[in-house]
């Protein structure tokens, strides 16, 4: 087996972060959001509504342990324990399986709220390009969702689709976007909308002598066209922002901007944490609303 066969090109950077500007959380309100997605999980901890710490990692074999791993990694080096977190919201695909959460909130609501924090209150249209689905979301100036549209069909246009391509072409996933932009002339998008067929098509193009750059350009272009159709269907209103892992891929982002003729707001935070960040903001608001402490609220989780 050669090195290319064993190397995991799809593997993106997993890490945790702590805000150096908040020296201590003691005496403050600590809330958390945990986003357990189909491919990645994030935990965000906020102190009095300020971003304090987060983790971003691959989802493990089951949702409860992924949620626990994510929050433990976010708490690493902070001195926090779960008991210090006054309210936790679970979100994402595995939101009902976050064992320590006080409430589950949909990822659509959390992404909109998170984007409002990340990009500011001018965001009206949000594209969340997640691991296994893609959502076009409209929100108001408070980050409240006014409409959404979800692509429920297949993995094309998603992080998982991009991972499959990175492995197929033996290109590290972080380099896919830049490489796809290095082509002199933009090729036609791959025609298939299904990731399985797109893979077959890409293999055929490589055999026909296309460079990796050209195949990646054709795939990024197909992905961009596909998600733009979601945005067009749900209505496009400025300001526009993108969250999720694919927001880190300039090859897709720039092509979306080109097709729409609209520039996406530039992120200053990791775009993958938007859902968990929104969850932590919901947690703060829900804690204030309930005016009670965690044990009294745990009953609310039943059946959610």
């Amino acid at each position: 087996m050669n090195e290319n066969e064993t190397k995991e090109y799809w593997r993106w950077k997993e890490y945790n972060w702590k805000n150096p500007d908040i020296p201590d959380w003691r005496g403050s309100l600590v809330t958390a959001g945990v986003d357990v997605g189909s491919t990645s999980s994030q935990a965000v901890i906020m102190v009095d509504g300020e971003l304090y710490a987060f983790s971003n990692m691959r989802t493990g074999s089951d949702s409860p342990s992924s949620a626990i791993d994510a929050i433990n990694w976010a708490m690493e080096g902070t001195g926090l324990t779960l008991d210090d977190i006054r309210f936790t919201v679970g979100t994402g695909y595995g939101r009902v399986n976050v064992p320590f959460a006080n409430k589950a909130v949909t990822e659509i609501a959390c992404h909109a709220r998170g984007a409002n924090f990340m990009y500011g209150p001018t965001v009206r249209t949000l594209l969340d390009m997640g691991g296994q689905d893609c959502k076009a979301i409209h929100c108001d100036e408070r980050g409240k969702v006014t409409s959404f549209l979800m692509n429920d069909k297949c993995a094309a246009g998603t992080g998982r689709g991009m991972e499959v391509f990175a492995n197929l072409l033996a290109v590290p996933i972080e380099e896919v976007g830049a490489m796809s932009l290095s082509v002199e002339e933009e090729p036609a998008p791959v025609s298939s909308t299904c990731v399985v067929f797109a893979k077959t098509e890409a293999t055929g193009l490589l055999r026909a002598g296309w460079s990796k750059e050209k195949v990646l350009a054709a795939y990024c272009s197909a992905m961009a066209s596909r998600v733009v159709s979601l945005l067009e269907r749900n209505g496009m209103e400025k300001d526009f922002a993108i969250t999720g892992g694919i927001a880190k891929n300039p090859g897709v982002v720039q092509r979306i901007e080109r097709i729409l003729g609209v520039e996406a707001l530039k992120p200053i935070y990791d775009t993958q944490i938007a859902g968990a960040l929104g969850g932590a903001l919901f947690a703060k608001a829900l804690f204030a609303k309930a005016g009670k402490d965690k044990p009294a609220l745990q009953g609310k989780m039943a059946g959610r």
């Binding site: 949909t106 006014t146 409409s147 692509n151 429920d152 909308t193 269907r233 919901f282």
Partner: protein
């Protein structure tokens, strides 16, 4: 404020989305969509504000074209679909 949820997909043959005006659902007590749809497309869930709203069942979201075909004959399609008749609040729209 209105909240419209669109569930469905686009494929090579067209766009298949069901739109639900979930603000209307939160005021609905009958939940007529549940029994009024022969394809069992809808279910009721709690939204993020603890209101009961209709949604498209996860297992139906990527099969709407096939499931709804029985209600949408090529010729003689009724003006209003069974789900739309069952929903007295007029919360359901189909894109196709």
């Amino acid at each position: 404020m209105k909240m419209i949820a669109n569930h469905g997909y686009k494929d090579g043959s067209g766009e298949y989305y069901i739109s639900l005006d979930t603000d209307k659902c939160s005021l609905c007590e009958e939940h007529g969509c549940l029994d009024g749809c022969p394809g069992q497309v809808f279910e009721i869930e709690f939204d993020d504000w603890d209101e009961e709203v209709a949604t498209v069942r996860a297992g139906a979201r990527n099969k709407l074209k096939q499931i709804c075909a029985a209600c949408k004959p090529v010729s003689g399609r009724p003006l209003r679909l069974p789900c739309q008749i069952a929903c007295v609040s007029d919360a359901i729209k189909h894109s196709w």
